[in-house]
Amino acid sequence: MRMVIVAGTPGSGKTAVLVHALRSLNERGLKSAVVKIDCLYTDDDSKFAKIGVPTKVGLSMDMCPDHYAIYNLEEMVDWADENQAELLVVETAGLCHRCAPFTVNSLGVCVIDATSGPNTPLKVGPFLSTADIAVITKGDMISQAEREIFRERILEVNPNCKIIEANGLSGQGCAELADEIMKSQEVTLEGETLRHSAPLAVCTLCVGETKVNKKYHRGILRRIDGFQSYEGE
């Protein structure tokens, strides 16, 4: 099974870009299946269904959607197999960006919105810095100068990625993404690892504590001045 993992900020155009790219893959005879991960709600599955691509939705509810996606990859691959797909596309919820859900041998695609400001590429972390392809959307809404700065900033963070400027509305640039997906390789999950570790998350908030003051919390606590301590047994 070939595997493409697509991450990106909410509203950046992940689904719109993918719909165009998958339509183009369909025409080239590559059969794909999509799993859309979200937290509470999504209607993106209907958009994929419209172009005839089998779609499954996974809602993580109160779990971290990226963690949820990572340990459910096996079920997703099995499901894609049952649907005779040669390519599994996993579209993440795109919420916190501290996780990079890309695995070593999958094709990692980061969709990033050019209107989010020239410093965004420096802020977002491993989901951009470990991606194979950075798809820039909404570039038609900002000045040429900002587009050029945005591109340069992405290359600062991830010098080896391929940049594709795409328009989710017109589909411009999406055929180029399809070209890159055609080049992706087969992945077996046995022994497959993440490109970047998921972040440290071992405090009482993770298990449901809702009080805000530090004295109510146990685990690894980092103070705003950078010092961290372990509270508890």
């Binding site: 209107t115 040429q144 900002e146 594709i164 017109s170 640039g173």
Partner: protein, 258 residues
């Protein structure tokens, strides 16, 4: 160095071969693209932006200096040959004009000395002066457009500039196009505005998604373009007067020789 680009015709929306088979545009030339809404102007611009190789809906092919551009030239973001300018574009960066231009110059490997040159050029295109310490996001539509034009002319070293409808910009359109062409750019402008359309060297007429014909601007049209430019100047000066709270008592029309 890009001396010329060639557009080889593909197919229109009804899958008929385009009547225009080949268009060559040389450095320093200004080309117009005209046609009703939905006639395919933006997709023509899109084809040039991507340097398409019979791989888009229209199956047009774009040559650079008479040759197919390499895959690297088409896709390497640092080698982008095309800069774009449109009515829909905004400055969103939360910075001063000076800081922003320095950052852009740094990204393009240009000297920070060109920052002043950009601001000076922009100020020749708009009535309201732009200063280095102005915040980018509070600039008016006219100031923004003027700054974008000057920035593309001086800092972006992309040899091809595609302009999509800047008619309501509140800038000296005539001077803006001349500034771009004067910097040795290939300029293509999509427009319905006669001020712009008649100052181009030639214009491609679009219909049904296809290039219908190429019209060279006649001597008469060029003379008309001069007159339209004067009207444009008059409108801009009135605009400034209204903006500054002045009372308009009369306008001078004689020199337009109607």
């Amino acid at each position: 160095m890009i001396e010329e680009i060639t557009i080889l015709g593909g197919f229109d929306k009804q899958e008929n071969a385009e009547p225009v088979k080949k268009v060559v545009i040389k450095r320093g030339e200004i080309f117009g693209v005209v046609g009703p809404t939905g006639s395919g102007k933006s997709s023509l611009i899109g084809d040039i932006e991507q340097l398409s190789q019979e791989d888009t809906f229209s199956r047009r092919k774009i040559l650079v200096n008479g040759e197919e551009p390499s895959y690297e030239d088409r896709t390497n973001p640092r080698k982008k040959m095309v800069a774009q300018l449109s009515q829909n574009m905004n400055f969103l960066a939360d910075m001063t004009v000076g800081d922003f231009l320095s950052l852009h110059a740094k990204c393009r490997g240009a000297s920070s000395k060109c920052v002043n040159a950009v601001i000076d050029l922009a100020n020749t295109l708009t009535g309201e002066p732009i200063k280095k310490d102005h915040d980018l996001t509070i600039l008016s539509g006219g100031q923004s457009r003027a700054l974008m034009v000057a920035d593309v002319a001086i800092i972006s070293n992309s040899p091809i500039v595609l302009i999509d409808e800047i008619e309501n910009a509140g800038i000296r359109k005539h001077d803006a196009l001349e500034a771009l062409a004067g910097h040795g750019k290939i300029v293509m402008v999509v427009t319905h505005d006669p001020v712009l359309a008649l100052m181009t060297d030639k214009r491609i007429v679009m219909k049904n998604g296809g290039m219908q014909t190429v019209v060279a601007t006649s001597e008469d049209e060029k003379a008309i373009s001069q007159k339209l430019n004067k009207i444009d100047e008059l409108m801009l000066s009135l605009r400034d007067k209204v903006r500054n709270g002045e009372i308009i008592r009369d306008i001078e029309m004689e020199y337009l020789e109607f």
